[in-house]
Amino acid sequence: MTLRTLTALAAGKAVRAGLQAIGRGGTALPGLVALALDPEVIGHLSARLAHGVVLVSGTNGKTTTSRMFAEIARAAGWTPVHNRSGSNLERGIAAALLADADVAGRLRADVGIFEVDEASLARVVTRLEPRVVLVANLFRDQLDRYFEVDQLARRIADAFARLSPATLLVLNADDPLVARLGDRHRGRVVFFGVDDPLVGGRVAQSISDATHCPRCSSRLAYARVVLAHVGEWSCPSCGLARPARDVSVARIALGRDGTRLELAGGGEMKVPLDGLYNAYNAVAAIAVARCLGIDDATVSRALAAFRPAFGRLEVVEADGRRLRIVLVKNPAGSNAAIGALLERGGRLRVLAALNDRDADGRDVSWIWDADFEALVPSIEHAVVTGLRAADLALRLKYAGLPVSDMEVVDGWRAALRHAIDTTPADGETVVLATYTAMLALRGALAEMGYVGRFWED
């Protein structure tokens, strides 16, 4: 441990202590300070982790998948350090490491599990030597920040070409943008996917970001489309097709209280989460666990006990009503959430919150790509709030929701109060919120006494 790293560590820890003293969570600033003093801080600290570092990236599912794997690691007797507050830039990783380290740089943890923003991934993999890098999917997201998804994939593939051959890549075979990211990697690539013939439709979805072959530009053919461009794809022209799956789900049984996965080659896992996308999150976590030599029985035990993160279908009780909180931040994620809500059936009461801060994407056009047309027939009533509530209300109007069935309410607490008070006793309201809107709603729920403070999560 160099003096520079120790200084960065001490400064970061001091900032963290200061923030906690004034009652702030501090998931990023301590990391930022430490990185400013020593840009190599995450490499130096993470090199001490006996089981190494697992990076989890992709547009959707990062938080849930990395939490799933963290539970698996705990069940295996490991001690993870985990940037669990959705703070997934380099600074968030630094903050998690320095919170775990003592002043001499010794870590309590023996494995690092970090979710990494997909736009930061190309950079983060040069800052430490990961044992495993998982990329779950790439979809259009926050065009003002990430720009085009093709360019993003090229940057990640370039970075992977420079990885150590010791690093294992775990990639989603069903996503044509992701499946080729490891083509120039000098080490091993493990593919996962879903092979249930009953899952997915035959028609390409309108928001597809990869309609054409990444190798020869011909139109891809799909035997099954699961979500956007994810599915059983092949190129009829040059023969490129989804790679053979090392870890695959042969059958998915979705239920209201969870999902049962039958793995190809034997074995069954239960996950207490609904939604097809959570089946993908689980198979990704299973693939990582197998790569690290954790046995299926341990994996199965951990997944069966899994609890969702805040904003990932988590349920909050408020005055005898349930608020089911769903983070929506891009079209593919929204459509996955909409699909999961429709699978549950029934009429929905909705509190929808749209913000346009940097972390949400300043361009709110993406709501026009999300398939609200599918959701609206099931909406009984909608309360709309957030910095760009008027845009979201307009989207619902053009998706066919009668103006009389929605109300725009200004202010987080007022919107929550109204949504809770108009929900029948024992009833449920689904809260759909973008990232910073979700944080603001979480803060308001804490002020109103319905949940604890965020950083205790």
Binding site: E148, S217, R362, V364, Y398
Partner: protein, 241 residues
């Protein structure tokens, strides 16, 4: 009364909310009792120049733009030329706008020919213009979000769609945004420009309906929510562009 809308290359040229424009056109027609039909044209399919009254041509990623540019160099380009010559209207956004112009000149490599239907030329720029855009047109204020690095310059046949108040517009130099030439409209307001600019949506609907139904009058709609979204977006553009 019926209206026929053709969405050009929806899977390749439809980045980030572009399809909101087609939704807005179809809904604003249907709310007035007009039977709006939408057809999609994919690359490799034949464009029927006699069918549509109104075309929408969105923006795409590099790969998509290459595929579409090749498709338009064949019979489909000729068909679109004929359709627009026989008074169909078109809204083009970002990459679609560039492809309707004379050419796109990349930073290196040969120029990519466009259809030459709009008297504009685009050159690759060094900066990317990303942010909220507010511009004044004779018919109303144009409110949107721009995200492009191409710089487009207007020739004498094309008029600017609007004058930039906040943002960069066509090239960040001459304060022009978009272009209009006959019933051909181009803009850098990508994503969902029409829902928040009902004046532009209705202008396109009027042009399109005139093609087969002669002079028509559009019934007024209750645009309270559209105006609220415009006010909120204009406030954002002015205070945190």
């Amino acid at each position: 009364m019926d209206l026929r809308i053709c969405h050009l290359y929806p899977d390749l040229m439809c980045i980030y909310g572009d399809r909101g424009n087609v939704i807005a056109l179809a809904q604003r027609a249907r709310w007035r009792g007009i039977d709006a039909q939408v057809r999609e044209l994919r690359e490799g399919e034949a464009l029927d120049p006699d069918w549509a009254d109104l075309y929408f041509f969105g923006g795409g990623q590099d790969l998509g733009q290459d595929v579409v540019s090749r498709d338009l160099q064949g019979a489909n380009g000729e068909a679109l030329r004929r359709a627009l010559a026989s008074s169909a209207a078109i809204l083009s956004v970002c990459g679609g706008y560039q492809l309707l112009g004379h050419e796109y000149v990349p930073a290196d490599g040969p120029a990519i020919p466009g259809l030459g239907l709009l008297d504009v030329t685009t050159r690759a720029g060094k900066l990317r213009f990303v942010g909220n855009l507010l511009a004044e047109a004779p018919q109303g204020t144009l409110i949107g979000f721009e995200n492009h690095s191409g710089c487009t310059y207007l020739g004498p046949q094309a008029r600017p769609l609007a004058r930039v108040v906040v943002g960069h517009g066509n090239n960040g130099e001459d304060r022009t945004e978009g272009a209009v030439q006959g019933r051909i409209v181009g803009t850098y307001c990508h994503g969902s420009v029409l829902p928040k600019n009902p004046w532009l949506a209705d202008m396109l609907l009027l042009w399109a309906l005139e093609r087969r139904h002669g002079a028509v009058r559009l019934d007024p709609l209750d645009d309270t929510m559209e105006l609220a979204a415009r006010r909120a977006a204009a406030e954002v553009a002015r205070t945190r562009p």
